[in-house]
């Protein structure tokens, strides 16, 4: 029951992120989504393993990564995504469509593992696709990073299926890896700001054949 509620909230937040144009709000929404996400391991398989996962997720995805992203845009004056590659209305429609596709695909998949809730796999797939959509439809570097992180949140949800079987060491490695990835991306966004005066990847079009 609580798990379903959390999953619905996570997918809902994903769609809200899709329709949002303010960079700061997008980062906060991502932090909120990650916060709800951090509770899911406890709801699926309560135990020491889940507690460690939850704490690590809160530390990295709710506190460190959002602060890092805020640091990366601290000097950016334009804090809105005014001209996305694909308009907001269209991305929202597409997001809804992709969520439906995710549910359709998951209903066809035959899982050899027992699921904690039959909403788990479809919501994981919808979040992955929403993140992907965000990544390809926006021009601001920060929104692209958030798209990547939302995708990773979806993969995290899918990984809950295998929570008991994955060694903790490997899971920690993956989380740390994503964090370092965000760190490197944050630093590069900072370089983009310094070089071009804005974190708009529309500036990055000089290399082509």
């Amino acid at each position: 029951m609580w798990l379903e509620l959390a999953l619905i909230a996570i997918v809902f937040l994903g769609i809200v992120i899709l329709g949002n144009s303010r960079l700061a709000t997008t980062i906060q929404l991502f932090a909120l989504q990650s916060f709800i996400l951090s509770a899911t391991p406890l709801l699926v398989h309560p135990g020491p393993h889940a507690v460690i996962m939850a704490i690590a997720t809160v530390l990295l995805k709710v506190i460190l990564m959002p602060s890092l992203l805020f640091w990366a845009i601290r000097h950016v004056s334009i804090r809105r995504e005014d001209q996305p590659l694909v308009g907001y209305g269209k991305t929202l429609l597409l997001g809804g469509f992709l969520t439906a596709v995710a549910f359709l695909i998951s209903s066809r998949l035959d899982l050899p593992v027992r699921e904690a809730s039959n909403l788990l796999v479809p919501s994981a797939f919808s979040i992955i696709m929403i993140g992907f959509l965000l990544l390809v439809s926006r021009l601001k570097a920060i929104t692209q990073v958030i798209g990547y992180l939302v995708m990773e949140n979806g993969i995290f949800l899918f990984a809950l299926l295998l929570l008991e079987k994955t060694p903790l060491l490997v899971e920690m490695g993956i989380l740390l890896d994503i964090f370092v990835g965000t760190l490197v991306m944050g630093i590069i966004i900072n370089h983009i700001n310094q070089e071009f005066g804005s974190a708009n990847t529309a500036n990055l079009t000089s290399l082509r054949d």
Partner: protein, 473 residues
């Protein structure tokens, strides 16, 4: 002991380099770490082929092969940087040397991983560590290249992670994804999830390898990265990615999914060759051309995996020769850029007259890469053709030969113009070529002779054993 020297020592040295206040001391640290790594790798030739340190870390023939490529190339690059960094005294080399040392450790970890999750982590770490290296010059163009590289690779790697999770779902009955367990019980994997997993893993690690159509980052990154970094990326990093793809093939072949996965390999291979052919013809920037050339050779590697049988041997042989040849060309190109102050092909004329040592090695490297006899790549390309003939894939043969000849034509123009053409300003006194920047060229050229022309018995045996992992002869 081997574990410490190969994995931990580079990391410790990287910490030392980051803590060091002066630039001057970093080069000796880099060079000595590279030498120790190379000697430790060389010492492994004495021991048994299959070593298991613990459940997560171990060696097999393929690991040995890739580790040797990494270690030799890294050593050559370290020698080269000893000369190269002298030029760039304005900028601190802390990040460059530190990231290079961490990258050495991460690439070693890729070769040693015996757990598919750990393999994913190691590959992802190599991506993150190479991003600051591409961005060394911090110009607008290099920032753009780094951003594209980071974003496309991260996306690919995320799909790879999903593929790894799918693999774990398909291995539900095993409860682990240790390579040994999966290979031993491949028959018990759920085939539909394994197929899904193989596709995602191929897309993920294929992005890292730079296979078309996931290659968009490659010409940009190779074009903007400093030459020694390009040498490492095109030789060692692609080798790591190929190792990951090889592991996927290993799992699929053991699970009797060869008929499902082989056409995918062949399609990706031919597509990469085609894309490379289109963009190499008429390419104006030498480094970008090397990027497309890398796409071409990665295509040949997976084509070999797809054809199976003798082509697998050819594929591994090709990987070794391509790695060292690319290293040689990139380092020679670095000398040329320094001398001519441009990366444009039209700006570089008559290298043999102005910088003779570099010019000769550049021609040698380009001859190897184009597949001239008697060098190794000629044999591997021929062996792949033979395997395709033996299985009667005439459409593949048609495209393979078509694209290879187009690419050959593209290279020929470049070799003739750049190396042998008349220099524009022959009377300008050329600065002498730095010993440290020519010595690695000599090393790599010697290695190329021994990996391609006179192949020593142990190397031959090692490639045999590695290709036997996929049932190739």
């Amino acid at each position: 002991m081997e574990l410490f020297l190969l994995l931990s020592l580079p990391l410790l040295m990287a910490a030392l380099v980051f803590a060091m206040p002066q630039d001057g001391l970093r080069k000796p640290v880099l060079l000595s770490t590279a030498s120790i790594h190379l000697s430790a790798t060389a010492a492994l030739w004495q021991g048994p082929r299959d070593v298991h340190f613990n459940a997560f870390l171990g060696f097999d023939a393929l690991s040995h092969l890739v580790l040797n490529i990494i270690s030799i190339l890294f050593f050559a690059v370290a020698v080269y940087l000893t000369g190269h960094l002298k030029e760039k005294r304005k900028r601190s080399n802390r990040i460059l040397t530190g990231c290079l040392l961490c990258l050495l450790s991460a690439m070693t970890l890729v070769t040693m991983s015996r757990h598919m999750g750990l393999l994913w982590i190691a590959i992802a770490v190599t991506t993150l560590l190479s991003a600051p290296l591409i961005n060394y010059y911090r110009t607008g163009a290099s920032i753009e290249a780094t951003w594209k590289y980071l974003l496309i690779s991260s996306l690919g790697i995320a799909l790879g992670l999903l593929g790894t999770l799918f693999l774990a779902v398909s291995a539900t009955s095993l409860k682990t994804i240790f390579l040994e367990d999966i290979l031993a019980n491949a028959a018990s994997l759920s085939p539909s999830w394994l197929k899904l997993s193989a596709i995602f893993l191929l897309v993920g690690y294929g992005t890292k390898m730079g296979l078309a159509p996931m290659h968009a980052w490659k010409p940009d990154a190779y074009g903007e990265a400093p030459a020694p970094v390009g040498a490492l990326m095109s030789g060692a990093l692609t080798g790591c990615a190929f190792l990951a793809v090889f592991r996927v093939a290993q799992i699929c072949f053991h699970a009797h999914l060869q008929e499902f996965i082989s056409p995918v390999f062949i399609l990706l291979g031919v597509l990469s060759l085609g894309i490379a052919a289109v963009f190499i013809i008429g390419q104006k920037d030498f480094s970008r051309m090397l990027g497309y050339s890398s796409v071409e050779h990665m295509g040949i590697l997976v084509l070999g995996l797809g054809l199976g049988g003798g082509a697998i041997w050819a594929s591994l042989f090709h990987m070794v020769n391509n790695a060292f040849a690319k290293g040689l060309i990139f380092l020679a190109a670095g000398n040329l850029y320094r001398h001519f102050n441009t990366r444009k092909i039209e700006g570089i004329r008559g290298a043999i007259h102005t910088v003779p040592a570099t010019g000769i090695f550049l021609v040698l490297g380009l001859l190897v890469i184009t597949g001239f006899p008697p060098f190794g790549i000629f044999y591997s390309e021929l062996l792949i053709l033979k395997a395709a003939l033996a299985t009667g894939r005439y459409v593949v043969i048609f495209f393979y030969l078509l694209f290879l000849s187009v690419i050959f034509f593209g290279y020929a123009r470049i070799i003739l113009d750049m190396a042998l053409g008349k220099p524009d300003n022959a009377d300008v006194a050329a600065p002498k070529e730095d010993l440290f920047m020519v010595a690695p060229l000599v090393i790599l050229a010697l290695v190329l002779v021994f990996t391609g022309v006179f192949v020593p018995g142990p190397l031959y045996g090692l490639i045999n054993e590695a290709s036997a992992l996929l049932g190739g002869g």
